[in-house]
Symmetry: C2
Subunit: 379 residues, 2 copies
Amino acid sequence: MSIQKKVGILGGGQLGRMLLQEAPNLDIYVAVLDPDKDAPAKYLCHHFVQGSFSDFDTVYQFGQLVDLITIEIEHVNINALKKLQSEGKEVYPQPEIIELIQDKGLQKQFYQNNSILTSPFVLLNDTTDLITVSPDFFPAYQKSRKAGYDGKGVKRIEHNSIDAKEALSGPTVLEKAVNHQVEIAVITASNGEGQVISFPVIEMEFNAEANLVERVWMPSELPDSIQQKAHKVAKELTLKLGIRGLLAVEMFVTHEGEILVNEIAPRPHNSGHQTIEGCTISQFAMHWRAILGLPLITPQTTSVSCMVNVLGEKGFSGPVKYLGMHEVLEMSKVYPHLYGKKITKPFRKMGHVTLCGDSRNELKIKSSKVMQVLRVISN
Amino acid sequence: MSIQKKVGILGGGQLGRMLLQEAPNLDIYVAVLDPDKDAPAKYLCHHFVQGSFSDFDTVYQFGQLVDLITIEIEHVNINALKKLQSEGKEVYPQPEIIELIQDKGLQKQFYQNNSILTSPFVLLNDTTDLITVSPDFFPAYQKSRKAGYDGKGVKRIEHNSIDAKEALSGPTVLEKAVNHQVEIAVITASNGEGQVISFPVIEMEFNAEANLVERVWMPSELPDSIQQKAHKVAKELTLKLGIRGLLAVEMFVTHEGEILVNEIAPRPHNSGHQTIEGCTISQFAMHWRAILGLPLITPQTTSVSCMVNVLGEKGFSGPVKYLGMHEVLEMSKVYPHLYGKKITKPFRKMGHVTLCGDSRNELKIKSSKVMQVLRVISN
């Protein structure tokens, strides 16, 4: 091995899979822990352990196999990571940062305490608290404090008179809806050796029905002053957290050009996939460098790029079948990435396609064609 | 699986490794056969079989596990492949083409029979035949007809009065040395559905001592007319062979601008590695498309690129250790690819580094720095 440290990843989904496609370039030994015996990353690692990354004993024992533990999902057992760290294992991102980020309420309080602009919010212990919120706080988004992702655990609420049965139960954070012009993201990397870099600003386009990102654009076409502000916010957040690894910072840009932090993730992120083909270095290559304390370089775009999520089609659940791949492969500078999931479900992320080109207009047409022809159904 | 056919690769070296880094994007099931239990491609495949790819029974049994068999090295058991093909398995490239190419004597005869320009040659049964060759045929290169690669099985001979003990024994082909300005290569792909494409012309720069390629340049700076001729020769050869898969065609460009075919290889090739970062599609992605009968697209360069082989340093044999990787990672648009070999030997290919940039001059300086700082030694 070129890299002497053995690395373990908690989680073996598509992010782990893409980390593993990159890892051989530096000859990194990687073990993976995932509950799914058919996890997308399973066959690409040196050693796979089937088990729950939220179980203390499982994570603790998995940690014994390696020198450095990292994550591709934040819903992991923090106590096990803290114990591993106290016993001399390296854990990046650091357990206390993952712990903060895995709770959307703590995330919001962190922004507030560190003077980082974010939308107004209220913490709710349960649905009964809803009625205590001022009517003019609505419309708002109610989010489960823990374990929500990909549009799950998020509910738009129009008014506090909502039937409590319609709302999300348990501890949640209620966020005032932001009237924004666009949602953007900046991914940063920090290597614990003083280097902090940021990837180009990306713009997200949503599928309203699924509340999932449908298309991502790079570079952003926002005024340079706003982009600079976004880089500044993301880097400040990175430094204030003191994270080593990647930090994906999702932000709202208001109509007034103000930037509000929405959510953060301490790992490779869906909004950074097109860095594989559209940047001089990918978020996956950067993740390895960051957690291993290797030199970071500033990523530059190499073309205009667009990332399209490949989602399971509504109405289909079961063994996956792809239609239209032939047409996609006929298009130049179009890069499919399938995640190897055996089972499709409505709106499940089954893969993504990156398109590179000279202009956003060109890619609007091409990506629409990809979204039209590439279908994920089941037999 | 998106691709319904299971694929088996004979050979699990660095070419197999890079094929496997690409395979997940189309969700291809891949099994690998290699004699080395630590083969570079081993841990990246779905199923690994340790065994000899030159043994009939081993290859035949391995073939039973999959639907389509391909290669990353041409020194494989042809009879087993022919039997598998006759029993309904797909084999690409086709066994009879691998058989022709694995014999450097048959290769030369094929060029001659198909009016493809190549250097003058003589077939020798053994060293005793040397004396029968006219003195004005020398200097010449003597090559073992089978199993020679990477500078092994090749000997430069100045005169037919050479001591027979100095020459290569067994059946060889003696090729008149060509007084050339540059050695180039074009990799083609053919998908069996009528599509034949070719990658941009690359130029090779040799390490004289090891008779190994040291730097590869893309795109070529030769006059367009010569490059067009090179594409034409490579595509003609592809069509005349009727190969399905990749064909790497190494050619000499004489001082008069004439193109002579040197050698061919029916697989991904060392001269095509920089297509990963320097082209709109890599040779590895193209190989999968070609053998699976999927659409091919014409590759375009995305920047000037240079590939540097990372070779084991003279005087070191044993467990590998890399020096200077930190300095390499500090350079922007520089992409190391380590092959994961545990043991280094003098001039063994341990990896490669691709550099991208705006001009050859810029990359000459950067690549010299890489070659200077990156050292492969052993403890």
